[in-house]
């Protein structure tokens, strides 16, 4: 008979069914909240322990005198003391305000440029490669220029932070829009989406995961540029994390210096972690795997 499918369901004896037991991931029964937290946090914990151990070993080897390279316990104690001081919170406030302002402005500017550029084919050809070029420019190279333009001021720092972060954000949205599957565009077109509604309902949501990766990368660049800026553009009246680094170096206070470094590292990772969570959540809802 010409119909191939019709017989498929009927009249075929079912094979004896084998029982399969469904369990949680890795074969264990679904985990409780407590054990989930333990399982998630042990790899970073392990990394911290390894780092501290190596550091301790180097310290004990006597490679550098202890006033140049203190041991972990001393530094961690210093970090504790520092966090308890009001001066630290003032410095942190200045730095985080700059980070928020710079990243926020970069977000707005990068998103706007990305949308406009991806909307127009001509602009895309003209500016697209320039944006990628800007991304490869080490942001510290902008500072002499920024200082000439704005003097030793907040504006000079913000200028470079924005230049560091905005290209990544714009690039994220441009490549996201470029990579929207053509089949989805065609589907939306027959459903009646045109011009702006096509953008609003299909192109932009489809580009969201790439946009969020751009944000993550943008944040990393913003944070680096900000630290470079705070080291180069020192404004006397304003204590900041960068100023504290400089200050501790001038007084050859390695323990203090390393404490500030630890704070900078942890802050950068915390914000990256938040962005990663948002990004992986969006991807998981679409059945996409997490990025790293």
């Amino acid at each position: 008979m010409s119909d191939i499918d019709a017989g498929r369901l009927v009249g075929k004896a079912a094979a004896p069914t084998r029982r399969i037991r469904f369990t949680g991931p890795e074969g264990r029964p679904a985990a409780s909240l407590g054990s989930r937290i333990v399982r998630r946090s042990w790899p970073p914990l392990l990394a911290v322990i390894i780092t501290l151990l190596l550091w301790e070993v180097v310290y004990l080897s006597g490679w550098r005198p202890s006033y140049v390279l203190p041991d972990p316990a001393t530094v961690l104690q210093r970090t504790g003391e520092m966090v308890a001081s009001g001066k630290f919170w003032q410095a942190l406030g200045t730095t985080m305000f700059r980070a928020a302002a710079g990243f926020g402005l970069a977000l707005g500017i990068g998103t706007l440029i990305g949308l406009v550029v991806s909307f127009s084919r001509t602009l895309r050809a003209a500016i697209g490669s320039m944006i990628t070029g800007l991304q490869t420019m080490p942001s510290i190279a902008w500072f002499p220029f920024a200082i000439l333009l704005f003097g030793l001021s907040e504006s000079a720092i913000l200028f470079v932070v924005i230049l560091g972060a905005a290209p990544s954000i714009a690039n994220g949205i441009i490549s996201g829009i470029d990579d929207v599957p053509k089949a989805l565009i065609r589907t939306a077109t027959v459903l009646g989406a045109r011009g702006l509604s096509l953008y609003r309902y299909v192109v932009v949501p489809a580009a969201l995961p790439a946009y969020l990766s751009g944000l993550k990368q943008g944040w990393a660049f913003a944070w680096r540029s900000l630290m470079a800026g705070e080291l180069l553009v020192i404004i006397a009246s304003k204590p900041s994390l960068g100023v504290q680094l400089q200050f501790h170096r001038e007084f050859a206070d390695t323990a203090g210096l390393m404490s500030v470094m630890i704070i900078i590292l942890v802050l950068g990772m915390l914000i990256d972690g938040v962005l990663s969570r948002v990004s992986n959540g969006v991807r998981a809802r679409r059945g996409m795997g997490p990025v790293s």
Binding site: M1, R186, G192, A206, L208, G287
Partner: protein
């Protein structure tokens, strides 16, 4: 080219087949693709008139240009030669792949189609429920596309297609991924919706029996280059079933045409 038919005619005229004006009309349509393997003539000199309210099946082996033809009618591609006229009618299309929007739930996918058809938002809820009932997925509303099986995705795509307000409906192998029972149910629904909304349907399949079950007319296509080779008017009473002897009879005829053995 053998247009016209060898099959028994006129047992029953097509319901609401108003012949006053063709809904879809193709004249000398050809489509070439330039690809890595050089130039492919996907379609060549296709002439076709489809009446408003007709149900036409396109039957042909893989690669003979069925999807290409639908894309041209939908206006997604433009022909290399010839002209296509749908008289300004709104064309809806269901693709060979479900193409659901992965960031929306099943409900969101169908709602978007309603929104783009200008349905007011307060009607979304009941309309979506009704459409999901139609495709027999009443409990899938809050699921995400990646959580569905292939056949379920295809049915959501059908619901989304039916959500739009169109008068011509193009369907590209919509039920190829379904089990026989669900597929039969979908055939009944497609037939019901076609009658109810007085749609013009062009339905692509490579299942001969399906084309005999659904169509008023079945157009048999041949590849290299893609052409419409012959046509069979089914002329059977509706509603039909896959198992009907008449359907089997037409299917056997179509099968002979497809395999190139025209006379038994």
């Amino acid at each position: 080219m053998r247009l016209g038919t060898a099959g028994p005619r006129g047992r029953m005229p097509a319901p609401h087949a108003t012949t006053e004006r063709a809904a879809i009309s193709l004249r000398g349509v050809g489509k070439d693709f330039r690809g890595a393997a050089g130039e492919t003539v996907a379609l060549d000199s296709v002439d076709l008139d489809i009446d408003a309210g007709d149900f036409v099946c396109l039957l042909g082996q893989s690669g003979c240009g069925k999807s290409t033809l639908l894309n041209l009618i939908a206006g997604l591609d433009s022909p290399s030669r010839g002209s296509i006229d749908v008289g300004g009618r709104r064309v809806g299309m269901m693709f060979q792949d479900a193409n659901l929007f992965p960031w929306l739930t099943v409900r969101g996918n169908i709602e978007l189609a309603l929104r783009l058809s200008g349905v007011p938002a307060r009607e979304f809820g009941p309309r979506v429920d009704e459409l999901l009932e139609t495709v027999r997925l009443p409990r899938a509303a809050s699921m995400r596309p990646h959580e569905l099986s292939g056949g379920m995705r295809q049915r959501v795509a059908l619901a989304r297609t039916l959500a739009q307000d169109c008068s011509i409906l193009l369907m590209d192998e919509p039920f190829a991924a379904l089990d026989a029972i669900t597929r039969d149910a979908m055939h009944d629904e497609t037939e019901r919706i076609w009658l109810e909304r007085e749609l013009t349907i062009v339905f692509v399949t490579h299942n001969v029996r399906e084309s005999a079950r659904l169509g008023n007319r079945v157009l048999v296509m041949t590849p290299d280059p893609g052409r419409i080779d012959s046509e069979l008017r089914i002329g059977l009473q509706r509603p039909r079933r896959m198992e009907d002897p008449g359907v089997a009879d037409r299917a056997a005829d179509l099968h002979r045409r497809l395999s190139g053995r025209n006379e038994p």
